[in-house]
């Protein structure tokens, strides 16, 4: 019995943009799919809410918002005379709506941990293909656009590039929810300035300041939010808790929610093991059952585990009693690190190897803009010529933004000092 689309939900309230229209009945049905509903249970910013309590927003909201922006962008490009037919429009909207299906619990935090050597884009493709089977091939064009196999390359750029609607939404949204207002960007103005030249997505010359501000805002969000030192501590601790629990699972046994337990049982590596072989399609099924809640419930149990490493890290994560973090522009002194480890060994009565769970140091880096890559930001001048934004700007500013910034962090329990 076919329900008419008119009777289905068509408008969704969004605190960032006001209202988001569901573009078609197909998109409505995709939104109802369990794979997409699962994104409601995955926080967009992993553990950033430990620093910015408002940042509890989910991947679900993000993909809706990105779809909304992509729709505006297409409206704009059509106004400028670019041919985008209705099928292409809907397919591009599908591609962005589904582009984050492959994220695991806490978004990027556990990427490559639960499924070694598997990134979330690969999983997104698998899950899109699964949905495509269910939907009788109706999202094939969307998958082509997502994989950059479609002739109109600029559609792919709208979905995935250094100026895609994915970034436009997440910067706007993450700034909104974190309260880091200076990370906000002029999405509306940028979208008005988008154009297409030689099948490339470009930004018109007069949008250059908005694009620069977008890059600066992105860098702020990286250092102020995504790579905030306390967030790093929390996310590194979570990775270590999962790793340790996995080890314990194979030693003395450990509690795990059913969805999480599957991954401890099998320890898969590489997308091939997910996509074929004896565990196909079970791994995909397990993956689509897994979300943030499995991690929290497990951490709560692990807080009482007999293994001090696992219980200590888990308890600290649940109660936000995080390790202390030092940040430096230079690598930390090895002596300082080994000294801290000794104290940890003594305090917790653990082995020297296990001290690595409590004291660890690594490098973080970020660059706001990558020059000259395939996905460069291209500026369109009034005379019809184009150039990489780094060259187009009168300023050496963009070039400065393309330098990689590296920092070093050192985490350890404050109370051993």
């Amino acid at each position: 019995m076919a329900k008419s689309f008119y009777n289905k939900l068509k408008i969704i309230n969004d605190p960032v943009y006001g209202f988001i229209n569901v573009p078609s009945e197909l998109h409505f049905d995709l939104l109802q799919h369990p794979y997409l509903q699962r994104l409601r249970r995955i926080k967009q910013l992993g553990l950033s809410h430990y620093v910015y309590p408002g940042a509890t927003h989910t991947r679900f909201e993000h993909v809706l918002g990105a779809m909304h922006l992509l729709n505006s962008a297409i409206t704009e490009l059509r106004k400028k005379g670019h041919q985008i037919n209705e099928e292409e429009r809907l397919a591009a909207l599908t591609a962005i709506l589904l582009h984050d299906l492959g994220h695991g619990p806490y978004s990027h935090t556990l990427e490559g941990i639960l499924l070694e050597n598997v990134n979330h884009e690969e999983m997104s493709v698998l899950l899109m293909e699964k949905i495509n089977e269910e939907f009788g091939g109706r999202i094939s064009l969307a998958i082509d656009i997502f994989k950059n196999n479609y002739s109109k390359k600029f559609l792919h750029k709208l979905v995935s590039s250094q100026l895609d609607t994915d970034r436009l939404d997440y910067l706007k949204r993450d700034s909104f929810y974190s309260g880091v207002t200076e990370g906000g960007i002029g999405t509306d103005r940028i979208i008005k300035m988008l154009n297409v030249a030689d099948d490339e997505l470009v930004i018109e010359e007069k949008g250059i300041y908005s694009a620069e501000q977008f890059l600066v805002a992105r860098r702020i969000m990286y250092w102020q939010v995504y790579l905030h030192k306390t967030v790093i501590a929390a996310e590194e601790m979570l990775k270590r808790a999962i790793k340790r629990a996995n080890e314990e699972a194979h030693k003395n046994g450990v509690f795990a929610t059913p969805a999480l337990g599957y991954f401890f049982d099998h320890n898969l590596k590489g997308i091939e093991e997910v996509n074929s072989g004896p565990l196909y399609p079970y791994t995909m099924e397990a993956y689509t059952k897994l979300d943030d809640t499995d991690i929290i419930v497990s951490l709560k149990e692990w807080s009482n585990h007999s293994d001090i490493v696992l219980s200590e890290i888990s308890k600290r994560l649940i109660n936000r009693n995080l390790f202390h973090v030092d940040i430096s522009n230079k690598p930390f002194d090895e002596k300082k690190i080994s000294n801290l480890k000794e104290k940890v060994v003594s305090k917790y009565k653990i082995s020297g190897d296990d001290a690595d769970y409590f004291v660890f140091s690594d490098r973080i880096k970020n660059k706001a803009y990558s020059i000259g890559k395939d996905n460069q930001i291209t500026v369109l001048f009034k005379n019809g010529k184009t150039a990489d934004i780094a060259e187009a700007s009168d300023l050496s500013n963009i070039i400065a933004l393309s330098e990689t910034v590296e920092k070093y962090y050192l985490c350890y329990p404050k109370d051993v000092v």
Copy 2:
């Protein structure tokens, strides 16, 4: 080793107010307490995010926001010459910070379900008293204020009344996150207009329009968000899933996360059973381990349970495939209801009694303002006289707002029709 407060976190970013100051080292330590950290895992608006995807904010943010507003209110009252000493200020801030400790998973949704005949305020008092023990009696005054046992009654009113900072924050915040902007209120203006007369918290005459708008906004938020028909469907389904799982736990056994399982095992009734007897303090401990994630993980498992009632409701909840809801100003026709139940019995091959899990009807009601109760909103006139706002207004509007609005809903699976 005493860390200086200066080195501790003192400012928290909040998307609604910008920055929130942690008022003292005591409050910092309270914020670090596991009971308060747990509020990070309890959504402020239960399942409203199923209709308003942005509404994933938590009780944790709310209590911070309410504390922030209460602090502003005290600053204002001091300016107007009212004596509030530093101890009283800090105690009132503690009281509001802790006032929601007693909430269970999904806030109000499961209140009275997991612990029969226990409301969240009773639990809040128990947990405050527990913390007070740990803190050597340092929050006694806060508890007195919360329980309205302190001489300056207006401090209690700031924490709990029809114009308290609890409501001021939640309306502002819930409006912000849901995107229902017209439910927003002028918190700043209302706070500027607060005063004290005869130990009563009052609002000055010129704040009367802001207070009226506050009541109207509250009604909008009730009908548009808190009692949105889809939210009712989701929350009623959740109550039924928990009830059914509890029954199954005692019949064929059922998966439950450890924290949830405790409540199925013991089926406690009344605050006395929590606060004394053989299970004291275990119930409190279990309660403070329980949060939204236990419910989600359990629902995901129940989706595959052999009991069709439990699995069907659970699966629908997880995938947001909710029952359809009709709303009416009159009770629904009994015949229509029994007819729907028959269809459900036939479709799901269940007993007539079990049909109550799929087809149910009840009354919802709300009044925006309660006249003449102990916690009336009192207006202070320029001449020093006071009156209930319903009498003070030139308008019959407030009286209209004090009428109870009743509606009836009927839930059922759309696909049986």
Copy 3:
């Protein structure tokens, strides 16, 4: 030489809505017309900026905003299947763009003062007709819609009714610029809920709470902003300054800017004297030269005039040293008034008659909603029936909002007391 529209300004930045599109080349040309540019020099809220310093926004912005909302409303109605052809759409947008052309300096403040018995709508029609001549009849349909002479009555209602896009914009905008956030309304939601039934503009049942909030917000804006007692004092003083200067012009002579002087010279009454007779079209020309700046420049000069009544009021207005205002629910005691007048007579050495310039009392009134008038707000129920919102609501609230609220004010120089 025809410039292409593509090269003309097409997008206008608006702090309230982000971007406003100029819908066509005709609208671009209308925007360039001196009559419309003049609205840049007329403050939307008269002298309200004396209380709310941010409220310096102009009629120009307001008509752009109202046009933007009307365009959204038409998009919505078309989605719901209502036939609105392109000519009708553009004409409706023209009507709203031009609907405020007839406003004089400080919007409503001097309405009926400079041109007795002439209201701004009448002037708007005259000016539209003048433009229509210049544009070769291209805005005839817009004028028909504005004058409610067009068959599709709902188009007129979008331009002028109790739920028109004029009100939707001014409430949103005035709330934004005054900072009275609680006067804000959910324009987006209201527009999504608009529909047409029996050629009537209606609001769908589920929009009823938003419509109620709109009425309450409107009342707040009336009492908090438009009829704020200090605003009343300022605007009444301005009326008196103009009246006195006019009298002086015919006695001892008075400075006036050329545009203002014309009106002192002729003292016209009624729209007929504007629209025909010996002074046609000179009065219209003079009127379209007149704006807020003529008033300010004249007041500055009058501050030094030999007539104490004129100079005192003018100086006070320029320096915002306004008369004191008392507000009461009852008329003020005549004795109190005459007593104040005596003091003024004595202080300023003026006649008893002239005391009326310094001491005056009157009634202000407002009702948030008018039941059953031609322009009632009509609710469309799901079953297709319609009703006046006052009857449609479950609540007696709307009926309460339709009561007229009356207040009395008394103005006088504070320093005579």
Copy 4:
């Protein structure tokens, strides 16, 4: 008869910050002073509202906002242990409140035109000193702070430097009213990060990203708003209209409002002629009577003047029929310019010299940050050391921002081409 401060206006609504408190009775009285009230009649952004219609905000709002931010900054510095006594606090607040008194009509637009070789800061000092006389020396300390004659230099830096509260407010406010949201800055965060080291105002290390974003936002506002090519055209046209009217005043006579006429009559040069000599204090008096409205009323009259140069420019300004502007990174070809002038000579039948009024070209430049000047932005590291932000940053970004960007513009009437 002393009115108590309690009965005076103490809170002002501001759309940007919500509420602004008037800090003391002295500040209340200063706000009432005609010099300050005059700022209500001077637009903050000159003619930028011709491009951004919302940008009609005034210097009055800006100085209130800057005072509000400076107060927050002092609260913050006190929290960090810096001694700022109550007298110093109030004096700093006075200094920022009065810092813009010296602005003339349309803010910077006519600076140096009506009073040659006089800048607005000089006039501000004169007017402050005048007020100081009236107030019996009560604002002497404020003047010392403003002139950087007070021992605690950091107080002056809060009022005037590359990271002063003047800039913090105007960027935030101009971004708000123009709708150029990406020019917005994190004022709250920057203020929280302010500190004092060696009597210097500094920003703490962790505020470095916010400070960078502030500089980038400032550059955006320069190129997108303050130096928008259409704004340049309008402001240059206004300068020319004033210059021409002044010439005409001495030839054939010209209308001028009384306040403006004074400056045509005397053609003063240098602050000495204002501050002493035969015209003291008349020039100051005339200056404080002059505002935006004098310009508009005069332009409206000049539109009908017999001098075609004056009337054409005036009419175009009033009706926003502005000259066309080309922008280039290189100087414009002299031939192109002389060619345009010939066309103008032919079209308007004017002399070759007068063609300069219609066709003109110049250079505009801006740098976002000046390294190493007295008023550099200084970063305070955790180890107590300080450095210029350009050196402190890991990035070459700030150095890039300190490069001067130069552009060339060419204005001419579009219709001669």
